[in-house]
């Protein structure tokens, strides 16, 4: 992690009030994104990746959510100490976000041109005509056909892929320094996914925006990110440069994730192999776990794992892992 980080989250802890009692959704997350960099954050649903993103923007509903501890520094300012008005000025202007569901993330009763123009009006004080013109330009940039004629269209007149393009245009109009994309392609058809990813890559290159890409899809991360963070049950369990992670995953959870990706023509000789799965379920956020949170599902777990929580140790250049195997490599079992 360089000190020139644009975004630096330290020891972030977010709890939720749930009907089953208080639960910890994010438990001591550290991460940093440098200016212009793409960081992939990977994990199953419920691992705390979206909550972390919403905490950065200040969009968590309090209550039921509560930020217990931690700092979120953006460009040197601790966002958690800013007032609501100051945070609002950052949202959409310096940090923008796109969401998973393009079908429901746009307002159904407002024309898309207006929705794309809104950040320009509120943050940059553009007149209606100027903002409209800029919105048209951005709709062209995200490759919406006949963009100018579609300014007056409503979201229901667009396909899912087109709506996600509108969302991207809306997020990028103020040229934010950080774009948070929470599962931006998960709800889309595979062919559309590739188009949206390549669009995001192009725009990122053009604007120099840093990207915090949240996904459960390691394939997406491989295409987009230079560095990856793997989260499990509210904690970072592994961090690595993307190539290293794919070549030599350290944490048993990361290994499990990689084994569960289908590989096209992966096995020579045409032998059919079952896709590996990680047995068991992610623990509920209200569950109290003494040792490692993954121990219950881990093929290598031994007594220590169930008693003491491992720390996030540096295990190599740019690499960290939260696993007792770092101190007890002899415990790693090798499967035939």
């Amino acid at each position: 992690m360089s000190d020139a980080a644009l975004l630096r989250i330290e020891a972030l802890r977010v709890s939720f009030r749930t009907p089953e009692g208080p639960g910890t959704a994010v438990d001591g997350v550290d991460l940093a994104v440098a200016a212009g960099e793409t960081l992939g954050v990977v994990g199953e649903s419920g691992c705390g990746k979206s909550v972390t993103a919403l905490a950065v923007l200040g969009l968590l509903a309090v209550p039921p959510a509560r930020i217990e501890t931690g700092t979120i520094r953006f460009d040197g300012r601790d966002l958690l100490r800013l007032g609501e008005e100051e945070r609002r000025r950052i949202r959409g202007r310096e940090i923008a976000m796109i969401f998973q569901e393009p079908m429901t993330s746009l307002n159904p009763v407002l024309p898309i041109g207006r929705q794309v123009a809104e950040p320009l009006r509120v943050h940059l004080g553009l007149t209606e005509a100027e903002a409209r013109e800029a919105a048209a330009g951005w709709l062209e940039k995200v490759k919406i056909p006949a963009a100018r004629r579609r300014l007056a269209d409503y979201p229901h007149q667009l396909s899912g892929g087109m709506r996600q393009r509108v969302m991207i245009a809306m997020a990028m109009v103020c040229r934010p320094r950080l774009l948070i994309a929470d599962e931006p392609t998960t709800a889309l058809d595979v062919t559309i996914q590739a188009q949206i990813l390549s669009l995001m890559r192009d725009l990122k290159e053009e604007t120099g925006t840093a990207l915090l890409l949240i996904t459960h899809n390691l394939g997406v991360v491989a295409q987009m990110a230079a560095r990856v963070l793997v989260m499990y049950a509210g904690q970072v369990v592994e961090e690595a440069p993307v190539a290293a992670l794919f070549e030599e995953p350290f944490h048993p959870y990361t290994q499990g994730l990689l084994r569960s990706i289908p590989v096209l023509g992966g096995r020579a000789g045409g032998a059919k192999t079952r896709l590996a799965e990680i047995p068991g379920l992610v623990p509920a956020i209200t569950e109290r776990i003494a040792g490692c949170r993954f121990a219950g599902r881990c093929p290598h777990a031994f007594a220590l794992c169930r008693e003491d929580p491992p720390a996030l140790w540096a295990i190599g250049p740019g690499r960290r892992a939260r696993c007792w195997l770092h101190l007890h490599p002899e415990r790693r079992r090798h499967h035939g």
Partner: protein
């Protein structure tokens, strides 16, 4: 897909209009049939109990009461369509004139009442939704619960006691007439409209609250906040328009009912409105009046619903797809 053209909009309006006409035909048939089979002979009422069978028969023939059902129905509807008014048996004047003079009271009363209702309900509902489960919300909910449980005549009487008897700000009832005293007439409608409106505000406020709560959970509200919009823009531009769609439906129903006359409140405040007219006319077996007024009331409800459908289309761009 393309931009929303004029054609789908026009088609929507035409379909809704056709529905309106069809409904009016059904309503008129029902009204006529019900009054046709109802006991009570208008000829007997006009001539009194000592009338001879011959004079009764003559009057029945004169009034067309001896003719078959569909002939009478066609007569009635035909005359209505041609703008030919029947004569009221009791008031001895054209029913249209009678209705028009009463509508001049009931119409403004209904609109004023709904104005009060919306002016209270929508801000209260938004306020409660924004403070969900906090004391402010509980206060609004308790207040509206009282509103739901209060009979409007009782509220009317309380208002008269406070504002007319104690404070002497308003007359205790009566209606001077628009031509004679426009300002006094408006003033005469304020208390009854307030009584009607505040009761309806209770249900509208609850509806606005729950609808607003639903909308505030929507993804597009999170998007609006993520854009850095001011909270009031999020609430009044992004949330309210969506939240008002279900509220419009109930608002339309309430307005339709109020246009049909508020019999009880008109009696509390001695207002010469449609409600009192139909009440008197039924007692007098004034069949031509009852028939036309009941049809008008039903038509008011149907017509307001038509307007609500049009309002939907104005508020919700997705409507043309249905």
């Amino acid at each position: 897909m393309g931009p929303p053209g004029l054609f789908p909009m026009l088609r929507y309006v035409l379909i809704k209009f056709a529905t309106l006409v069809l409904l009016l035909i059904l309503v008129s048939l029902t009204v006529f049939a019900v009054l046709f089979v109802l006991p009570g002979d208008p000829a007997q009422i006009i001539l009194g109990i000592h009338a001879t069978p011959e004079s009764l028969a003559r009057l029945r023939a004169e009034l067309g009461l001896d003719r078959p059902f569909f002939t009478q129905y066609a007569d009635w509807v035909g005359n209505l369509l041609l703008g030919r008014s029947a004569l009221s048996i009791h008031y001895k004047m054209p029913v249209f004139e009678l209705v028009a003079s009463r509508l001049a009271v009931t119409g403004p009363l209904a609109l004023l009442a709904m104005l009060f209702a919306v002016a209270f309900a929508v801000p209260l509902g938004i306020y409660a939704a924004r403070h969900q489960n906090r004391p402010q919300d509980l206060a609004v909910m308790a207040f509206t619960q009282v509103g739901l449980a209060t009979p409007e005549f009782w509220l009317g009487i309380l208002l008269v006691l406070l504002f007319s008897v104690e404070l002497n700000w308003f007359a205790a009832g009566g209606f001077p007439g628009w031509a004679a005293d426009p300002l006094g007439s408006l003033k005469a409608l304020l208390l009854p409209a307030f009584a009607l409106g505040i009761i309806r505000a209770a249900i509208l406020a609850r509806l606005t609250r729950s609808s607003m709560l639903d909308v505030l959970r929507e993804d597009y509200i999170r998007t609006a906040r993520a854009k850095g919009l001011r909270e009031r823009t999020v609430i009044y531009v992004h949330a309210l328009r969506n939240a008002l769609i279900p509220v419009l439906t109930i608002l339309g129903l309430q307005l339709g009912q109020l246009l049909a006359g508020a019999i009880i409140i008109e009696n509390v405040f001695f207002l010469p409105g449609l409600g009192r007219l139909v009440f008197t006319a039924i007692g007098m077996r004034d069949l031509p009046v009852v028939r036309d007024v009941v049809l008008l009331m039903a038509a008011a409800v149907v017509f307001v619903n038509f307007l609500v459908d049009l309002a939907y289309a104005a508020v919700d761009p997705r409507i043309e797809l249905h």
